[in-house]
């Protein structure tokens, strides 16, 4: 098979810098050479090779620091027009392994809130850039509202419960919260971005390093997929942080949702593109009914078409969210409610498309669909894990409420 999946699935290529297209091509080739063509070896020595490859692209190539201004030692991809380029890179990483993309996506989401123009938060950049622009591999965990809990009543962010609380005292704050569930990386993160509420129940985002006194991690738990992104609940026992490291702004929380939907959408899309390659290879080599190729059977071809449709739609939606963000002259900044709503609505749909594409494609692969040897099942588990981690308790319902609020002006839901 000599196809280029990026060319096969249409997208607005003019939104991506030519320089980045060249980088993406290099990552594509790296993924083919180092991971995709050596899947079995990669599976056997997963932990070692994952870390090795993560270092290669994060540190050697420099993707870990990509989103920070050059003045912080970053690559300067902190302007909105660079966003399509960032998702292109994330998609290529995730084509190799969604867990690689997922870890970068969490880092980029938390960093973008602080580092993306026009409102660069220098205090938070001062805190996290030295870690993320250095020569050590770093991980970021994000704690969002509504991650399902059993505690006493809490302040709400658009219906979702905020379980982390911040108490101000002059130039410092204390952060508290028990057994909070991060989106991922809770067991390994160096930096934690925590959606919290202040004394007035106003939502905001606190940035804290995991080595702070009072930060306590629970046991690492096994998840459906994203095996290397070890997760654990986190407790904050009155952790002292600088007030400057808290963004007390509801719009910042909306913005964080926007970045997560965009970047994790790109990750699931990348996983889907590699699944497509696996499926295409299967369909052009598998003989059924003792005669024709699988792809030449009309029933199978109709399923193959559905897979391609779903991936195409996911790709268009990912690039459309990025367009909302990058074309500030049209849409303004991320504080525009349409951007939050679109990111939530499209983000949900991207994950559905990605999962449906893999689910339907696996139908044609029978046992090869669920055999680890073929790698399709890893993409399936990884995408489902991303979908559930991105959801609040209640699944799609909280996002449906966001959409209804925007389109119908609902105020009590």
């Amino acid at each position: 098979m000599s196809i280029n999946v990026n060319e096969l699935f249409p997208y607005p290529a003019q939104w991506v810098d030519e320089d980045v297209t060249a980088i993406a091509t290099a990552v594509h080739q790296w993924a083919d050479k180092e991971i995709i063509k050596n899947r079995l070896e990669y599976q056997k020595a997963y932990h070692e090779l994952f870390t090795k490859h993560r270092r290669e692209h994060n540190i050697d190539i420099g993707f870990q620091k990509i989103i920070f201004p050059e003045s912080y030692g970053g690559s300067g991809f902190n302007s909105p027009e660079k966003v399509p380029s960032i998702i292109t890179i994330l998609g290529e990483l995730s084509r190799a392994d969604a867990a690689l993309g997922f870890m970068s996506a969490l880092e980029y989401s938390a960093s973008a809130v602080a580092a993306m123009e026009p409102s660069v938060n220098t205090s938070i950049c001062d805190m996290i850039a030295p870690l993320l622009c250095g020569n050590e591999l770093r991980s970021v965990a994000i704690i969002m509202p509504g991650s399902a809990s059993t505690g006493p009543p809490s302040p709400l962010f658009l219906g979702r419960e905020i379980r982390a609380r911040i108490k101000r005292s002059g130039a410092t704050c204390t952060l508290s919260g028990k057994d909070l569930r991060p989106i991922g990386n809770g067991a390994i993160a160096d930096i934690l971005a925590v959606v919290c509420a202040d004394e007035n129940d106003k939502p905001g985002i606190a940035y804290v390093t995991a080595d702070q006194k009072g930060v306590e991690r629970g046991n690492t738990f096994i998840q459906t997929g994203l095996d290397e992104c070890g997760n654990a609940d986190i407790t904050f026992n009155d952790v002292a942080i600088s007030s400057e490291h808290v963004i007390s702004d509801e719009d910042a929380v909306r913005e964080l949702y926007t970045w997560l939907n965009l970047f994790l959408g790109a990750v699931s899309l990348g996983a889907c593109l590699n699944f497509f390659e696996i499926l295409r290879n299967w369909s052009e080599n598998r003989v059924i009914k003792g005669k024709g190729l699988l792809r030449e059977n009309p029933l199978c071809a109709s399923v193959l078409a559905t897979v391609a449709e779903e991936i195409s739609l996911a790709k268009i939606l990912v690039y459309n969210i990025s367009n909302f963000i990058s074309r500030t002259s049209v849409w303004g900044g991320t504080e525009n409610p349409i951007i939050f709503m679109a990111a939530q609505m499209f983000g949900k749909r991207i994950q559905q498309c990605a999962l449906n594409a893999i689910n339907r494609g696996m139908e044609l692969m029978a046992s090869a669909g669920y055999a680890k040897e073929w790698h399709a099942e890893k993409h399936w588990r990884d995408v489902k894990t991303i979908q559930t981690c991105l959801s609040a308790a209640g699944g799609e319902v909280p996002v449906q409420m966001d959409i209804a609020r925007y389109f119908y002006g609902c105020t009590d839901i």
């Binding site: 399902a148 809490s154 459906t224 997929g225 689910n359 696996m362 046992s367 669920y370 209640g394 699944g395």
Partner: protein, 423 residues
């Protein structure tokens, strides 16, 4: 919480022994399987945790001898008119705890169905093989069907008629000499003691007379089992390669003979659907239990999830769908247990196979939707191993894909309902 026993079941479908037997199985599931099922995923190669439970079900409870006639130490289940209800009850009850354990236990009997369910009975073979299953040691059966080049072709028996089978059986001096390569069957990967092997006596032939189903003890010289494959789920079920290299078994190990082997083999297709719906509904009943607890305890907008109108709508759909899936499962049971009634149809009939495939496909599709939605409702807890829903999700996907998957079911249905002549 209403007991899942209250979910819809046709009273007439419940056999007289089902109630007490369910009680015995439920006790094992809740005390011995559920507390350890999370360990099974890591135990897929060694089966250190799995094999003792398998022994408990197959030997201590005695499931492995259930099909054999009473005169050979069995329960004569194969001759009863409640065999399918009984089999379904095992599949569902154990499936509630772990569908792969249920699969491994029940599929152990799968090859025996070809010669212990009337009208396809071979008493000589039953007498000869009975001691393997009644002697107090575990004996795992394996229906070694799929071949590397053919995938689900072999299950597409009405269309392909065995034409693509490459495992050959040659009669030589009172013995069948078998050569070929099978892969993926349940209970392979080193676990099986006895194989049921579909072969061809004339490669490339689509004459049913050339289809042979031959029993092969796993310790016969020339039989080699490969190690188990790594899979997405179903860890208590081992799957691997089996090679038959000039394997010689007595001539009477062919279950019936020309023509009849092919018909008896078709009963396995129905049995596969029956087991599949049982495993799937068992998993779904447990998903309902887990979801009930979670939605009663965890909150959205500071109230239990289940008290939010929109979330309750999803929960209602989930429970309603599970209820309907269970009703449909009992329709598969009824089809099978009515096989000897005046209005019944043989298990190998086109109608029984097409309609049971229809229900299996419907239930497996719904099961994936239900389990996927349940995971979503749990938010970031949905993919967490400790809540077990994600395990059911991985297992259910495999149920959806096996036995030829969705597309084979679609074709079977189309042929039956629309008399398609060329598909």
């Amino acid at each position: 919480m209403i007991s899942f026993d209250k979910l819809s079941v046709r009273n007439g479908s419940i056999s007289h022994i089902e109630g007490p037997f369910r009680g015995i199985l439920r006790d094992i599931v809740e005390k011995e399987i559920m507390p350890h099922r999370r360990e099974y995923d890591e135990d897929w190669q060694e089966h250190r945790f799995v094999e003792p439970v398998l022994h408990r079900i197959c030997v201590d409870i005695g499931i492995q001898k259930s099909l054999l006639p009473q005169e050979f130490g069995g329960w004569s289940l194969g001759q009863s008119d409640y065999m399918m209800a009984f089999t379904y009850c095992i599949a569902e009850e154990i499936g509630r705890g772990d569908s792969s354990l249920s699969l491994s236990s029940i599929c152990s009997l799968w090859p025996l169905c070809t010669f212990l369910i009337p009208p396809f009975v071979n008493m000589r073979l039953a007498r000869e093989l009975a001691p393997l299953f009644t002697g107090g040691k575990i004996c795992i059966g394996c229906q070694a069907m799929t071949e590397p080049q053919g995938g689900s072709d072999i299950e597409n028996i009405d269309l392909i008629k065995g034409r693509t089978i490459q495992t050959t059986a040659r009669l030589e001096g009172g013995h069948w000499v078998i050569n070929g390569h099978k892969l993926w069957p349940t209970n392979s990967g080193g676990l099986a003691s006895l194989f049921g092997v579909p072969c061809t006596t004339r490669p490339g032939s689509d004459d049913p007379d050339d289809f042979a189903y031959i029993m092969v003890p796993a310790d016969t010289p020339g039989v080699t089992q490969g190690p188990p494959y790594a899979k997405a789920g179903m860890a208590a079920d081992k799957n691997g390669d089996i090679w038959f290299d000039n394997v010689r078994v007595p001539e009477h190990y062919r279950i019936h003979g020309p023509g009849t082997d092919a018909l008896a083999f078709k009963t396995l297709i129905y049995m596969g659907q029956l087991g599949s719906v049982g495993f799937a509904v068992g998993s779904l009943l447990n998903v309902y239990e887990i979801l009930y607890d979670f939605s009663s305890t965890y909150t959205y907008r500071n109230a239990p999830l289940k008290e939010h109108d929109a979330i309750a709508g999803v929960l209602g759909d989930i429970a309603g769908s599970i209820d309907i899936c269970r009703m449909l499962s009992y329709e598969v049971v009824r089809m099978g247990d009515d096989r000897n009634k005046p209005w019944g149809k043989p298990l190998h009939s086109h109608e029984t196979i097409a309609r049971s495939r229809n229900i299996k496909e419907f239930i497996s599709d719904r099961a994936m939707e239900i389990c996927g939605k349940a995971m979503d409702l749990l938010g970031p807890h949905g993919c967490e191993r400790v809540l077990d829903i994600e395990k059911h999700w991985r297992d259910l996907k495999m149920i959806q894909l096996w036995l030829g998957g969705k597309q084979l079911c679609q074709m079977e249905k189309a042929r039956y309902y629309f008399d398609c002549a060329t598909l």
